[in-house]
């Protein structure tokens, strides 16, 4: 192929298009900032400074990236299996709740036993929360997008109920302040810190999980079947695969990773469970932003690693910008929405390029087969 086509090969274009989409979203954001009477250059400078300006801010970025990465990898698995999991928020919450309940009950346990148990319970709770929409979709053809959204709302109410009732910090009750939060966990439940910053081992765990997910999807039979079922359920059924089983598995794994993210969040960052009534209070909207990270990572577990770090930086930076410039956090939500829209809308150019390339390859293969020397007609 020619020089231009090497530069614009699908791989390059696949990376460049979402980047262009981000630039476009930030440009719209700049217009919004101007409308709000804020200097966009100064605002974005404070954003970058806040996200990557110092060791501490880089650590905070990685801490924010951790749930995005775990949720995002789960989104990749679900999507490859033909499922859209919009239920990350609910799965994060039940994962956090399960880990919390375990850690509060096992106060006497040492760290080496307590941490794995807490994480495992978060994983399992998220798996259960993902299993419901998975089974309903695979067995009864109930739309999984809608059920996962409803499961989010149910999880929020369960969280509010538990923290205002059975799980509330006894001290809050005896003092009469009734803040809906649990007691602080024992120190044994704290995830170890990596460097003397807020960065905890959860980030490392998330990266390992991403690599394992890649191995699962592209190096094992189960993963091959998940992808096959997602690509073409009819052909997979003909090939003897149990289509509904692998669809459910994809959803269960997806929920499990979001649940694990919830457990990592309580044990690594908050050290207690709390609620502000909404879901974003605890999750920081990671259940939704994880979808953005996965998309930006091209729905590939390895690609999701840098994508999650990028979006973690965006969130930390946005918080810094908000403090420095008094910009309402609602603007960041709106900007996030634009980002999602731009990223999925721009995908058309990558797909077109892939199609054109495939046509050219087919044409040149046909040309070679028919014995034509310099062939390759377009």
């Amino acid at each position: 192929m020619g020089k231009t086509s090497r530069f614009l090969s699908p791989t390059w274009l696949a990376i460049l298009t979402p980047l262009a989409a981000v630039v476009a979203a930030l440009a719209v954001g700049a217009l919004l900032l101007l409308a709000l009477g804020v200097d966009p250059v100064a605002a974005y400078a404070s954003m970058f400074q806040g996200a990557f300006g110092s060791l501490n801010s880089v650590a905070d970025t990685l801490v924010k990236a951790t749930p995005l990465l775990l949720v995002g990898v789960g989104i990749c698995i679900a999507f490859r299996g033909g499922m859209l999991n919009i239920g990350g928020e609910g799965q994060l919450i039940v994962g956090g709740l399960a880990a919390t309940a375990a850690v509060l009950a096992l106060r006497a346990w040492p760290a080496w036993a307590l941490i794995p148990v807490g994480l495992a319970l978060g994983f399992l709770a998220g798996a259960a929360w993902g299993a419901v929409p998975g089974v309903l979709k695979a067995r009864l053809q109930v739309n999984e997008i809608l059920t996962t959204i409803m499961m989010n709302a149910i999880a929020i109410q369960a969280l509010n109920y538990l923290l205002r009732g059975p799980l509330m910090d006894p001290e809050q009750v005896s003092k009469g302040s009734f803040i809906p939060q649990t007691a602080r966990f024992t120190l044994a439940a704290d995830l170890p810190r990596l460097v003397p910053t807020r960065l905890h081992a959860g980030f490392l765990l998330a990266v390992i999980v991403a690599i394992l997910a890649w191995v699962l999807l592209w190096r094992t039979t189960i993963g091959f079947r998940i992808r096959a079922v997602g690509l073409n359920p009819f052909a997979s059924r003909r090939a003897g695969m149990r289509v509904s089983r692998y669809g459910i598995l994809a959803m269960v794994l997806s929920g499990a990773l979001a649940g694990l993210a919830g457990a990592v969040q309580v044990m690594g960052v908050n050290h207690r469970m709390f609620t502000d009534g909404s879901s974003a209070g605890f999750t920081g909207a990671a259940g939704f932003n994880g979808i953005v990270a996965a998309l930006f990572g091209l729905l590939h577990p390895i690609g999701t690693i840098p994508a999650a770090v990028f979006f973690g930086g965006l969130i930390v930076g946005a918080n810094a910008m908000q403090r420095a410039m008094q910009i309402p956090s609602a603007m960041i939500t709106a900007l996030n929405g634009l980002l999602v829209i731009f990223v999925v809308s721009s995908d058309i150019w990558r797909r077109r390029m892939v199609q054109r390339q495939q046509k050219a390859e087919v044409a040149s293969a046909l040309g070679a087969a028919s014995g034509a020397e310099q062939a390759a007609p377009t």
Binding site: Y161, F288, P328, A330, A334, N336, G337, V344, S345
Partner: protein, 311 residues
């Protein structure tokens, strides 16, 4: 306390507010039905409702005229609908995800606009209830059915109207053919792009009006996340109703009645934790998806962008 729920006054209250509260679900679900029948899933209804609720409220608040508010909501809906058509039809985006983008945008943008232009929660007088002549004077029924505001009546009138358009006009045929077999429709000279642009724009307008019905006709306030999930539930009602306007009506009524019941449970102080009462609508939605009102297959080309010459 439980027996209080069965007293005539409370039952009448439940029926009355059930009929009222079905309004936003009706607008949104009818718009979504039209869009889905043409093959486009709009998952951003929630965000569009919030933007419409804000636009309607803001203009009503500034001018005191709910008609201007309604006009603002219609314009806002048309803009958002056209934008959504651009995203889903022209750019062929993955609809399940782009809808979440539209939702997040509407959620953030309506809150941002609210903070910058209003600042604190205020109220407007909105559309007043109109007692229909003669019908409104009937005993019991008159109070329950014929003493509502204009946006409530219009929502119910929209049901037969949409049914007629879908089932008795060429337009309806074109819409359904675009959702069932776009390639065949295209071959017969139907412009899939034009049909879907129209349905998605109408869907945007109806979603926006649904939001406005809350802010200038039912609750007469605007606040952050006013709709709290109603838009997603409206999408679910379309599945429950089997893509028919009558199904959407049945779903909206069932849903709003359960909501009204849940409100009365709290008002009467029946000892159920409020968190569980709040959970009820969402559990109900899942059940409604599992056991639909009308068994129907979803439009064959739903969420599938159309491109000529693609199989």
């Amino acid at each position: 306390m439980i027996q209080d729920l069965l007293s005539p006054a409370v039952l009448a209250g439940i029926v009355y507010s059930g009929i009222r509260l079905a309004t936003p679900y009706l607008y949104a679900a009818l718009g979504e039905t039209i869009g889905q029948l043409s093959g486009v899933l709009n998952l951003g209804v929630e965000g569009m409702m919030l933007m419409g609720a804000y636009a309607g409220f803001y203009l009503t608040y500034r001018t005191g005229d709910p008609w201007l508010g309604l006009l603002a909501a219609i314009l806002m809906g048309a803009i958002l609908g056209l934008a959504n058509a651009l995203i889903t039809v022209t750019f062929r985006a993955e609809q399940g995800i782009s809808g979440i983008g539209v939702f997040l945008f509407g959620l953030g943008m309506s809150e941002l606009l609210f903070q910058k232009t209003l600042g604190s929660v205020a109220t407007v007088s909105g559309f007043p209830p109109i007692r229909l002549p003669f019908l409104g004077d009937l005993p019991v029924v008159g109070d329950l059915l014929f003493n509502h505001n204009l946006m409530v009546y219009a929502a119910y009138l929209l049901v037969p109207l949409v049914w007629l358009v879908l089932n008795r006009t060429t337009w309806g045929l074109k819409i359904k053919s675009a959702g069932q077999n776009p390639a065949a429709a295209d071959a017969l000279g139907v412009s899939i792009t034009r049909v879907r642009y129209a349905t998605v724009t109408v869907g945007g307008i109806l979603a926006s009006v649904a939001g406005a019905s809350l802010s200038i006709a039912l609750l007469n306030v605007f606040q952050q996340n006013l709709t709290s999930g109603m838009g997603f539930i409206a999408v679910a009602l379309v599945y429950f109703g089997g893509w028919s306007p009558l199904g959407a009506l049945a779903g909206s009524l069932l849903f709003s009645t359960v909501n009204a019941l849940q409100n009365w449970i709290q008002v009467l102080g029946i000892p159920i934790a409020p968190d569980f009462a709040l959970m009820l609508p969402y559990v109900l939605t899942i059940l409604m998806l599992v056991v639909p009102f009308r068994k129907a297959r979803q439009p064959a080309a739903l969420t599938k962008p159309f491109e000529r010459g693609e199989g």
